[in-house]
């Protein structure tokens, strides 16, 4: 069940994922390569929460750099429920009431997936509205800090604290505050049920989404099926960009300046190679190697450049739907339960599952897991997601 990898304050109420820095406390991003690394500064989001009176209870476990499904390949081992099913550590801490909320990095959907499986809420806000300063970086063009909490109201409360311009983050938008809704205005909203993503899910997940849509209709929401033909292309494009950007960002871990250093070396080359070979798991290595190849001279145009152009097409397709709909409804993951599996299968497994989560990372739009399903909204329209989730929670959808 949910446990802290590092306990910080017995009276704390916030869990902070181990990919987010808390000054003076070991931050490993779930990896051996950052063994012993104690940041010299806290993430801006942590500073803002502490400044508003929220104490950090501890660091919650993540998979190495947040690259896996649910933290199953965290250096300290996976988080499992009583039946042996995989769970996200932060989501379980929130579900059990051990913390009021958690800060998580949504890199490839892990916190959304975790919230959907644990029956709590997670909101990935619009790219640039919440500072990424102090996040252990992987895919800077699409990863985003978000909030896990038990209710939409609690998510809103914490988002209001952490959002707003941060001059220390070069991708931070200029606004100081954002509209996170009022829990009202739901009757008359229009929601699109994304056919390609719902059809790709298991029968039990499809049934969950269908039931959720039906309860939305009961609140006066119009739900209609819509098509996103570029959904699979969005997955490929996001994974190409994620791998390429991660390859660059993770190149800083070399066993010299901080973190793990192999004891087995005779020269500087062996120091680098052995430290990285022993310090990184196979999933991270696969991401680095695939990303490095995508950036190579012979493949740059057909892979990396192509993915950047497809990103614009996906963005235009999603924006087109938001002319007619307030939100898009779909599964957050393919199944209602996941079991531990071999790390040799991790790259392919994560790639397959990211079909359900890649679009918001690729396009920067906000996405929220609530009631075991997921909704996307237009840029800066978190209010639609929170209002819908809150109304559904009020109707007994949790």
């Amino acid at each position: 069940m949910g446990q802290f990898v590092t306990e910080i304050n017995a009276n704390g109420v916030i869990a902070v994922d181990d990919t987010i820095q808390v000054k003076g406390y070991e931050t490993r991003a779930g990896s051996r390569i950052l063994e012993g690394f104690k940041p010299l500064f806290s993430a801006e989001t942590v500073e803002r929460l502490e400044g508003a009176g929220y104490a950090v209870a501890g660091k919650s476990a993540v998979g190495e750099f947040g690259l896996d499904l649910l933290g199953e390949f965290a250096h300290g081992g996976p988080c499992l429920d009583a039946s042996g099913a995989l769970r996200g550590a932060a989501a379980e801490l929130v579900a059990a009431g051990q913390v009021r909320g958690a800060l998580n990095v949504d890199l490839n959907g892990a916190p959304r997936r975790a919230a959907a499986l644990s029956g709590v809420d997670f909101l990935k806000p619009t790219y640039g509205t919440v500072s990424r300063y102090g996040v252990i970086p992987c895919a800077c063009s699409g990863e985003q800090v978000g909030v896990t909490a038990k209710t939409a109201g609690a998510v809103r409360e914490l988002l209001r604290v952490i959002a707003g311009h941060d001059p220390k983050d070069g991708t931070s938008l200029p606004a100081e505050t954002y509209d996170y809704g009022n829990g009202k205005d739901v009757p008359g909203m229009r929601v699109g049920l994304v056919r390609e993503l719902t059809d790709a899910a298991s029968d039990d997940m499809k049934a969950r989404v269908t039931a959720y849509a039906e309860r939305m209709r009961g609140l006066g929401v119009t739900v209609e099926e819509v098509s996103l033909p570029l959904a699979e292309a969005a997955r490929t494009a996001w994974n190409l960009l994620l791998c390429a950007e991660t390859c660059n960002n993770v190149s800083r871990y070399d066993g010299v300046k901080f973190g793990y250093r192999s004891p087995d070396y005779r020269n500087i080359d062996e120091l680098y190679v052995n430290s990285r070979t022993e310090g990184l798991n196979f999933l991270t290595k696969a991401v680095i190697l695939y990303g490095s190849d995508a950036l190579s001279k012979g493949r740059y145009v057909t892979c990396y450049d192509k993915a950047l152009r497809v990103r614009r097409l996906v963005w235009e397709q999603v924006k087109g739907l938001f002319k007619d709909f307030d939100a898009l409804l779909c599964p957050a993951c393919s199944r209602t339960e996941y079991r531990p599996y071999a790390i040799a299968d991790a790259f392919k497994t994560v790639f397959e599952e990211s079909l359900f989560t890649a679009i918001p990372n690729l396009t920067g739009v906000p996405a929220m897991a609530s009631g075991g399903v997921q909704c996307f909204a237009d840029t800066l329209r978190e209010s639609s997601l929170l209002n819908l989730a809150e109304a559904m929670e009020g109707s007994g959808a949790k």
Binding site: G36, F37, K38, L40, F41, Y127, G128, S141, G142, P167, G170, T171, L173, E232, A233, R235, T236, L240, G255, V256, K257, F258, G259, Y260, R261, Y265, N267, I268, D269, L271, Y272, V273, R276, T277, F282, K285, A286, I288, L289, Y290, S292, D293, T302, C303, D305, K306, A307, L308, R309, V310, R311, R312, L313, A344, F347, K348, F351, L362, T363, G364
Partner: protein, 94 residues
């Protein structure tokens, strides 16, 4: 198509080594991804601009004011090995 030789070169470039089993799995990953990349290439992007960032932000610069956020000592504290004023690595020249 990714070959064992090209994969070995990639490993070297990225300062890491795969075991034989990992290398076989990595070649399988490259083979799998080829089909997805081919589907991406089928999409007409001839007149589509690249989109590096989804938000229209460019050249955000802070004020040109000299700062000293961290001391040399504090930066050295996290290093696996260091001298009084430098990170320590094996001898590079004989």
């Amino acid at each position: 198509m990714m070959t064992p030789e090209a994969l070995s070169a990639l490993e070297q470039l990225n300062e890491m080594r795969l075991t034989a089993d990992e290398a076989a799995e990595m070649l399988s990953i490259f083979r799998d991804m080829e089909a997805h990349e081919a589907a991406l290439r089928e999409i007409d992007t001839d007149n589509v601009e690249i989109m590096v960032h989804v938000m229209p932000l460019t050249n955000i610069l802070r004020d040109d004011v000299q700062e000293q956020p961290f001391t040399r000592e504090s930066l050295l504290e996290g290093a696996p090995e260091h001298t009084d004023d430098s990170w320590q690595v094996p001898r590079l020249v004989k």
